[in-house]
């Protein structure tokens, strides 16, 4: 069981309540597809991913980025039970989407960078450490049902 201090809970809640999901979601996903181009393998049906500009302006990618970020909401609201919260999504990513779980970390890292750029110096080393602890738990939960 993952233990969270009051301070860590506050930090996570504060970060997510300050985010504009319509802005950050697309930015995080498109950055992942640009920085780690092999992740595009999962987005064959998403239209033009030919170059960075195409990816950044792709509406399907943007919509998907928003969906993914809203998916993270469930972890924020259930911090004491992230593994159970994501059990079904883990099965989906494994059995239906066939996503290599290493990719979850890549997206998590891109989300960290996007939030860092947004929050600037408010994204202190301590805030970063807490956020990374959170995404690490999420990443682990999403990979938990793979077999």
């Amino acid at each position: 069981m993952v233990e969270w201090t009051e301070q860590e809970r506050d930090i996570i809640n504060s970060i997510f309540s300050s985010l504009d999901y319509e802005d950050i979601g697309p930015k995080a996903l498109s950055r992942c597809l640009i920085v780690y181009p092999w992740t595009q393998r999962y987005f064959g049906g998403f239209g033009n991913l030919y170059n960075a500009n195409a990816i950044k302006s792709n509406p399907m990618i943007a919509a998907h980025g928003i969906r993914v970020l809203h998916g993270l909401d469930r972890a924020v609201k259930n911090m004491d039970n992230i593994k159970a919260t994501y059990a079904e999504l883990s099965v989906l990513h494994s059995e239906k989407l066939h996503v290599d779980p290493d990719n979850f970390k890549l997206l998590a890292d891109c989300l960290t960078i996007v939030i860092a750029a947004k929050l600037g110096s408010a994204f202190t080393p301590e805030v970063q450490a807490t956020f990374q602890k959170f995404v690490a738990v999420v990443v682990s939960a999403l990979g938990s049902q793979y077999h």
Partner: protein, 141 residues
């Protein structure tokens, strides 16, 4: 693989940042110590508290080496030869830590540069730091 355009972009970014080498370097180190406490074990001989002399000078040293390497990326093995020897035979820092530091450097760059640290710059920088780390570890075995 870094394109010509990416190499130019990286050289430009580090040319600008070397003037705030202490700030960026110490920021990245602090982030690494906070997120990956195991990395502190390599610094038991230094005072790595925020703002300390040791931290600032060490951060500056690292950033200036990264900036120097960026001036001619095709010559990294030549430029880094002395540092390769230092890390392989004296410091013997486990190379997994290079990845951790690189990630924190990217975060520092995002915090410092904001929207200017766009996906293209991020991709180029990530590739450069990976190449730098790989060269640094070349003499390990």
């Amino acid at each position: 693989m870094l394109s010509k355009k990416e190499k130019k972009l990286i050289a430009e970014i580090w040319d600008r940042l070397k003037h705030v080498a202490e700030h960026i370097g110490s920021d990245a180190l602090l982030r690494m110590f906070a997120s990956y406490p195991g990395t502190k074990t390599y610094f038991s001989h230094l005072d790595i508290s925020p703002g300390s002399e040791h931290l600032l000078s060490h951060g500056k040293k690292i950033v200036l080496a990264i900036a120097e390497g960026s001036k001619d990326i095709s010559q990294l093995t030549v430029t880094l030869a002395p540092l390769q020897t230092l890390h392989a035979y004296q410091l013997r820092i486990d190379p997994t830590n290079f990845k951790l530091f690189s990630h924190c450097m990217l975060v520092s760059l995002a915090v410092y540069m904001g929207e200017d640290f766009d996906p293209v710059a991020h991709a180029a920088m990530d590739k450069y730091l990976s190449a730098f780390a790989a060269v640094l570890a070349e003499k390990y075995r």
